[in-house]
């Protein structure tokens, strides 16, 4: 709501906000994230509780989509097995750019309790797709889901949209100095 608060203190004439287009676009993007829910195991039950009356995930502007093509981010909740891994990769590749990944729970972060002898468990979903936000816990509490969502919004808010390459080059040359 940061943008709207600035309207309370208008310039002469009122209703004027000075800012970068990028900020407005990012603000819109971060507050309306549609997601593809990839419910796999126990964490998906906590995610159901998250979606239900007490915690109400939709107030973050997130709407569940059943098709990867309409989704902005994918939520991997649960243990990723080898049989499932290829499907996750296919669905991830079908999503439109820009796309983000939230990995929920120890299992999809690193294999969780199944890291040692789990012959059929992939030890972390980041071995097949890039992950933006990791939510720890086995399973994470709904509060942790909220924290993860805020983290993702923050990340989107700070992203560059225009002249990405030019800026990236400049940053790199600054770093080299």
């Amino acid at each position: 709501m940061g943008l709207l608060n600035r309207l309370d203190d208008p310039y002469e004439g009122g209703g004027i906000v000075l800012g970068k287009i990028e900020d407005i676009l990012n603000w819109g993007r971060s507050k309306s994230n549609w997601y593809l829910h990839f419910g796999l195991a126990c964490c998906a039950i906590e995610f159901m509780a998250m979606n239900a009356s007490h915690f109400d995930f939709m107030r973050f502007g997130t709407i569940p989509r059943t098709s990867p093509r309409q989704a902005d981010f994918i939520m991997i909740t649960g243990t990723v097995t080898f049989k499932m891994a290829e499907r996750i990769k296919i669905l991830y590749e079908q999503m439109a750019e820009p796309k983000y990944v939230i990995s929920v729970g120890s299992c999809s972060n690193c294999g969780g309790p199944y890291w040692e002898h789990g012959y059929h468990v992939l030890k972390g979903v980041d071995k097949i797709i890039p992950v933006d936000v990791y939510i720890p816990g086995c399973p994470p509490r709904p509060e942790a889901f909220q924290e993860g969502m805020i983290k993702l919004q923050k990340k989107i808010n700070e992203q560059a949209i225009f002249n990405k390459r030019k800026r990236l080059k400049k940053e790199q040359s600054d770093d080299n100095k």
Partner: protein, 158 residues
């Protein structure tokens, strides 16, 4: 009926196909039978008026180091008695008759035992893997199983 009574009755019918009856505490009592006549024995157990085991609770594959074993846990809904039946099969040629046509639930249980233990149930209509992927190698629950390095290019170890 108690396990030793069932044992006596089966012994009189099937003779030396019934190997032994273990009724020592604290274990669950069980009967060991030969695998050759297993289908007939199970058929009797289900249909004989004294047994009426119409409910197969569980079917488990076992790795007993030199042998493989299959354990059947039976229950009768009408007479409310239980029975544990065991079959041993050699590891070199792990074959035993399928009881899928007697208890329909055995279908998936046998597929699971085949998948994880590598026990082949002859006469099963569709004996394919059920839990592991269809192109998985080896039978994971065997004691000497070595986890493969990778599956479809994904590393299995962390």
């Amino acid at each position: 009926m108690l396990t030793n009574e069932i044992f006596e009755k089966l012994k009189s019918e099937f003779g030396e196909n019934i190997l032994e009856c273990n009724d020592q505490q604290p274990v669950d009592h069980f009967i060991v039978v030969k695998s050759e006549k297993l289908f007939e024995i199970c058929h009797t157990l289900r249909d004989d008026d004294d047994f009426l085991f119409d409910y197969l609770m569980s079917l488990s594959g076992m790795d007993l180091n030199e042998n493989l074993g299959v354990v059947y846990h039976l229950y009768s809904m009408k007479l409310k008695h239980k029975l544990v039946l065991k079959v041993m099969v050699p590891k070199t040629d792990p074959k035993t008759p399928s009881v899928e046509r007697i208890w329909r639930t055995a279908d998936w249980h046998e597929r699971e035992a085949y998948d994880l233990m590598g026990i082949e149930f002859t006469g099963h209509h569709n004996l394919i893997r059920i839990l592991c992927p269809y192109d998985w190698e080896g039978h994971p629950l065997r004691k000497d199983y070595q986890t493969p390095e990778s599956y479809h290019g994904m590393k299995t170890s962390s």
